[in-house]
């Protein structure tokens, strides 16, 4: 597994993304109603799913495990930090692709729709988490506070998910995870849609791993710096 992550995760992700783009732009037919605009179907729902459930979900679980004494470890804090950052990237992509889709469909770049608003709020919360981390020098303080914050802010994920059912909105209902249970697309469009979920999920894992490795290196540098500081402080005594 580790070997796959090290060697193959990146290339496999790029291949899958490439395949998704190829199928989405050149192979699948245009939609009966929305025409070529509907090709955003192969990007927008997948990035939204990764942003809300996979990425923020990873951050939430890692934060909860960090706060639980039995599983507490700075590794989990680094995973949570990486997941929040990646989540922010995917949330921004969600909003951008959604706006591109909305402009021709609704005539405006933005509407104060429940789904759009709650997604934007989640994005600001992710930014808030990163601001909180930058306001704390002490790693343990930083880890605890951001863990609590991520868990509280995760309340917005189910609000976002159910927003299209609870309120009358312009945003269409869930294409895959809808209450009726059936898929609302068919044929090659269906397969390409499902492939997009897989490829963007792989992209999430790839970005998460890259960001985590950066944090880990920073942590190792910090540990080295601490050892140097300890040696220097002890030398004050002998001098």
């Amino acid at each position: 597994m580790k070997l796959f992550a090290q060697r193959a995760l990146g290339p496999v992700t790029l291949v899958l993304l490439g395949l998704t783009i190829w199928l989405g732009i050149w192979v699948t037919p245009p939609d009966a109603v929305q025409g070529n605009l509907a090709r955003l179907l192969y990007v927008h729902p997948a990035v939204a799913t990764v942003a809300l459930y996979l990425s923020y979900g990873t951050a939430t679980v890692a934060s909860a495990l960090y706060l639980w004494k039995r599983t507490r470890s700075m590794t989990l804090d680094r995973i949570a930090e990486a997941a929040v950052e990646v989540s922010l990237v995917f949330i921004v992509l969600t909003l951008i692709t959604g706006s591109i889709w909305g402009r021709p469909a609704w005539g405006v770049w933005w509407v104060w729709d429940a789904r759009l608003t709650s997604t934007a709020i989640l994005g600001v919360l992710a930014l808030g988490c990163l601001a909180l981390r930058r306001a704390n020098d002490d790693p343990v303080v930083r880890a605890r506070r951001s863990a609590v914050f991520v868990i509280i802010s995760a309340i917005n994920v189910p609000i976002d998910h159910y927003s299209v059912e609870w309120w009358k909105t312009l945003h269409q209902g869930a294409t895959v995870f809808n209450p009726g249970g059936g898929l609302k697309v068919h044929g090659s469009m269906m397969w390409t849609l499902l492939l997009s979920f897989v490829s963007f999920s792989m992209a999430f894992l790839w970005l998460l791993r890259a960001r985590y490795r950066l944090s880990e290196r920073q942590y190792q540098n910090t540990e080295r710096a601490l050892q140097e500081a300890l040696d220097q402080r002890r030398a004050e005594v002998t001098n």
């Binding site: 020098d137 002490d138 710096a225 601490l226 500081a229 300890l230 402080r233 002890r234 004050e236």
Partner: protein, 215 residues
């Protein structure tokens, strides 16, 4: 009996080692005085013993509580602390602060008038804490410890801001609580002179103990 044991204790703040490896054992019913220059780590060591700091490396236990894995909140409830910034809420009176503290720990509030009398704060009973002088704020902290009667007293530069009467009072108080079975750990810039009790002086520099001297 050893009531506190530290082995290679390291405490850090934003990557800087406040304590760079402290080894220390504290016996019951003793008075330990930490001395040393500014920045030596005296306050950090006191805070570690009080359960206010986290161990970054090393081991330690105080009053049976493991500093790494134990419940530090429970440890804090057993320890009496006086810092040099003053105590409790600026916007509450002396009496209100003591009542709040007593009710927090389930201590009887009947002991408060006696504590105020002993610390010379009777006439300040209804004064807001922010209007007290530095020395009076320290006496407020002592009044609280008199109500609490903890088994471990941790005092950070308690003699600072005290006049001669105050110093004599503190010396008398320390003698009394040792006799009653408590342990006292305090910090001072210089070794205590004219102390009326046996003192173990421990000198700190660079976040470590450099000299253990039994006087």
């Amino acid at each position: 009996m050893t009531i506190a044991h530290l082995e290679n204790a390291v405490v850090t703040l934003a990557g800087y080692p406040l304590l760079s490896g402290v080894d220390l054992d504290i016996e019951e019913r003793s008075v330990v005085v930490l001395t040393g220059p500014n920045g030596a780590g005296k306050t950090s060591l006191l805070r570690l013993l009080a359960g206010l700091e986290t161990l970054a490396r090393g081991e330690g236990n105080v009053l049976g509580f493991d500093l790494l894995h134990g419940d530090r909140r429970q440890l804090r409830r057993e320890v009496g602390w006086i810092g040099h910034e003053g105590s409790f809420y600026n916007e509450l009176t002396v009496r209100d602060n003591l009542v709040f503290a007593a009710r927090s720990l389930g201590r009887p509030i009947d002991d408060i008038p006696v504590a105020l009398q002993r610390t010379g704060l009777v006439e300040r009973t209804n004064t807001l804490a922010k209007r007290l002088s530095a020395g009076q704020r320290r006496r407020l902290g002592l009044a609280w410890l008199l109500v609490r009667r903890p088994s471990l007293w941790i005092l950070d530069e308690p003699y600072a801001s005290l006049d001669e009467n105050g110093r004599d009072f503190l010396n008398g108080l320390i003698t009394e609580v040792i006799r009653q079975g408590a342990t006292v750990v305090l910090s001072a810039h210089d070794p205590l002179r004219n102390a009326t009790f046996d003192v173990r002086q421990v000198r700190m520099e660079g976040g470590r103990i450099v000299n253990r001297d039994v006087q």
